[in-house]
């Protein structure tokens, strides 16, 4: 097990840096230490998998980085923003412009068509209608879903729904893609398709990807670095072995 300092050689900057990050919950009498002193640094453009068993605190770390939750103590810095110090309004702007999120259960809004779901973040960004439709169309084209854009999520297969969610995460051109078990509800073949798309974003668009998963095989196949959590603590942080059965030839940036 080798611990490698997470420095992005290409850019020399950290996309994400946390210091002694803690998030405790009070549940009745007991205190639950969901995240308990996690310090990590992730460079811009990295593809990192956050691994751990259920209840290890990996989703909590992701939520803290996504600005959906605030740390009990410690700090999270994302591109020189101290998330703990941002107001609720600033956090919303941060989520809107800096972060794209993908979830295990897709989280598309059932009452909207695929295209409307994809362009929803642009409504919050007050982008005008024509430009919104154009961008949504482009994003859906990128994930190969332009033919289904006027369908409701319930009319789509799981894989298609997750691709729509990816298009939505992509629409604001965020620097950071956070994925919470993105293949958890998909069969392995569809899961691979989704992961291929995520890797494309990482390579072609230069997005920093942080993916929470409990599937070690998936992490090994796609991520270049794996961080292991257990009981809210960082237990291992290692670079992925450079052997990749499927795309070993393409390892590294294009």
């Amino acid at each position: 097990m080798t611990t490698v300092p997470a420095v992005s050689a290409e850019r020399g900057t950290f996309a994400i840096r946390s210091e002694n990050l803690c998030r405790y919950y009070r549940m009745g009498e007991s205190l639950i230490r969901a995240v308990d002193g996690v310090s990590l640094e992730i460079g811009a453009g990295e593809f990192v998998a956050l691994l751990g068993s259920s209840g290890s605190g990996k989703s909590s770390v992701l939520n803290l980085i996504a600005g959906l939750d605030r740390p009990t103590s410690g700090s999270v810095m994302v591109q020189d923003r101290d998330l703990a110090k941002l107001s609720r309004e600033e956090l919303a702007k941060y989520r809107l412009h800096v972060v794209g999120m993908v979830f295990q259960s897709f989280n598309l809004i059932a009452s909207m068509t695929v295209a409307e779901n994809v362009e929803l973040p642009l409504r919050f960004a007050e982008v005008d209608r024509n430009r919104r439709q154009k961008l949504a169309h482009e994003a859906l084209e990128r994930v190969g879903l332009q033919a289904r854009m006027n369908h409701r999520p319930s009319e789509l297969s799981g894989g298609e729904q997750q691709r729509a969610a990816l298009a939505r995460a992509l629409i604001n051109r965020p620097q950071l893609l956070l994925a919470d078990e993105p293949t958890g509800n998909l069969d392995s073949h569809t899961g691979s398709e989704i992961m291929d798309a995520v890797r494309d974003f990482n390579r072609e668009l230069g997005m920093t990807v942080l993916m929470v998963t409990h599937e070690r095989a998936l992490a090994e196949r796609y991520a270049r670095r794996m961080i292991f959590l257990a009981d809210g603590k960082l237990v291992d942080d290692r670079q992925n072995p450079p052997v990749d059965v499927r795309s070993g030839m393409q390892r590294g940036r294009p």
């Binding site: 609720r88 919303a92 989520r95 999120m101 979830f103 598309l108 409504r123 919050f124």
Partner: protein
């Protein structure tokens, strides 16, 4: 989020749980309808009352008297200003001055005197009064037999019903059925009356030059007995005691004719010490304004000139106060239903938050701010309010029409003329919808705040 986006999303969300939102909107509609119905009734009733008053010709009339009049109104405000002794006399130049004032339609002297009228050689003593041509539209002459004066100076007369009875010797016994006006008019119309009156003649030059009687120069005039033939052109069915002013007389003459007669008036004696010529001095002048709304301003201006002024507006103040109280009551009762409906909005939106918790979480995760979520819920509440308001106004209007129709059917059965006692003015339409919107937005305050404060992590965990 931009307003069109908000509206679009809000309407979409309302369509999603169509039944519940429709029921809530119906609740608002019923509330607005009851408010509109109540207030339209109040407004309609007031308009009906005002219409009657305006038509009576009294609503736009100011009666001007000299402050020297001992039988002045003696109201509080008249104690200020010039003392009665310094007050000006009401003569022709004053009348002309008042008539030149802005918003004044006409100012005419109230000529009224008691005199003898001969009909078929029998003398009758009665009160005679002059009427301007504008009195033709007066409500009091509704149902008059014959016609109004052919001109302002025609030697014609209109009789009051009771005087017609007197002339015909048909004064009904107490409790007996009143004779019909048209029956009374038939034998009288076109007949001739002779009025015997005292004319005030010009003062002799000698008296005017007299230095010893300087102060009493105005008193130096003579009184001559005259006769004037009058043709009866109309018999009016009006109650002489029901109204103020010229209508209290029993015989009416055209104004110009009455002026040209220079009848000796009771005021001539009172003004003896003041009048410096043979200019007629009036006991009172009736001023008609162009619009009842301007009556207050004109009344104040006349008071500033140093005269007493009285208008029915003063009397109608009590009436207006009554209607203000009526409005308040009707409004409160009408609003109650809307208040109940607003609880429906709170309930619907709180339910919507529970149902759409996850959706709120998603929106926050992809970048919606607290404000965006709050605005969305506000927009939903507002949309329900506006929709409910529009439907409610239409419903209230329809209810009013039905009630109006029903009442008029009833009135017709009682052989009474139909009345329009229902009015939905545009301002009521606008303010009812606005009120519905405000009530909905206030109702949306709590749910919107609650939705905005929702913790996205917990909301996303919610299935």
């Amino acid at each position: 989020m931009k307003i069109p986006d908000l509206t679009e999303l809000a309407l979409r969300n309302l369509r999603e749980s169509l039944l519940r939102n429709s029921l809530t909107t119906v609740g608002i509609s019923v509330g607005v309808a009851s408010l509109v119905a109540m207030l339209s009734l109040g407004i309609g009733l007031q308009q009906m009352a005002s219409r009657r008053l305006v038509k009576s010709g009294l609503f736009d009339t100011i009666v001007v008297t000299s402050r020297r009049e001992l039988r002045g109104m003696g109201r509080e405000e008249e104690r200020s200003g010039p003392t009665p002794g310094e007050s000006r006399v009401l003569d022709e130049p004053v009348r002309a001055e008042i008539e030149r004032m802005p918003n004044v339609a006409e100012a005419y002297p109230d000529i009224r005197f008691a005199t003898e009228l001969r009909f078929e050689d029998k003398p009758h003593l009665t009160m005679v009064s002059a009427l301007p041509a504008s009195a033709k539209t007066n409500d009091a002459f509704e149902g008059m037999q014959g016609s109004f004066f052919s001109s302002e100076s025609a030697p014609e007369a209109i009789l009051q019903k009771s005087f017609a009875e007197e002339l015909l010797g048909k004064t009904p016994a107490l409790g007996a059925a009143e004779p019909n006006v048209s029956e009374l008019a038939k034998p009288l119309l076109g007949k001739e009356l002779t009025m015997i009156y005292a004319q005030r003649a010009g003062n002799p030059p000698a008296a005017a030059a007299s230095t010893t009687a300087e102060d009493l120069s105005g008193a130096a005039y003579s009184v001559v007995s005259r006769e004037q033939k009058l043709k009866i052109v109309g018999v009016a069915d009006l109650d002489p005691e029901s109204m103020r002013g010229p209508t209290r007389a029993k015989v009416f003459l055209p104004l110009k004719l009455a002026e040209s007669l220079h009848v000796m008036l009771p005021t001539d004696l009172r003004e003896i010490a003041r009048a410096d010529s043979d200019q007629p001095v009036y006991s009172s002048i009736s001023v008609r304004v162009k619009n009842p709304a301007q009556i207050q301003g004109v009344e104040d201006a006349i008071k500033k000139m140093g005269f007493s002024a009285f208008s029915i507006l003063d009397a109608s103040r009590g009436l207006r106060q009554f209607f203000a109280v009526l409005y308040a009551f009707l409004g409160i009762f009408g609003s109650l239903a809307l208040m109940v409906a607003s609880i429906g909005i709170v309930n619907t939106l709180v339910m919507a938050i529970l149902e759409r918790r996850r959706e709120i979480g998603i929106m926050k995760a992809i970048g919606a701010s607290d404000g965006d979520v709050k605005k969305l819920f506000f927009a939903e509440a507002g949309a329900m309010g506006v929709l409910g308001g529009i439907v409610g106004v239409a419903l209230g209007w329809a209810i009013g029409q039905v009630i109006n129709l029903g009442t008029n059917v009833y009135l017709r059965r009682q052989s009474l003329p139909p009345e329009h006692f229902w009015a939905v003015p545009w301002w009521l339409v606008g303010s009812a919808i606005l009120f519905a919107l405000v009530v909905s937005l206030v109702s949306g305050l709590y749910p919107a705040g609650r939705a905005a404060r929702l913790d996205p992590v917990q909301a996303l965990r919610y299935e």
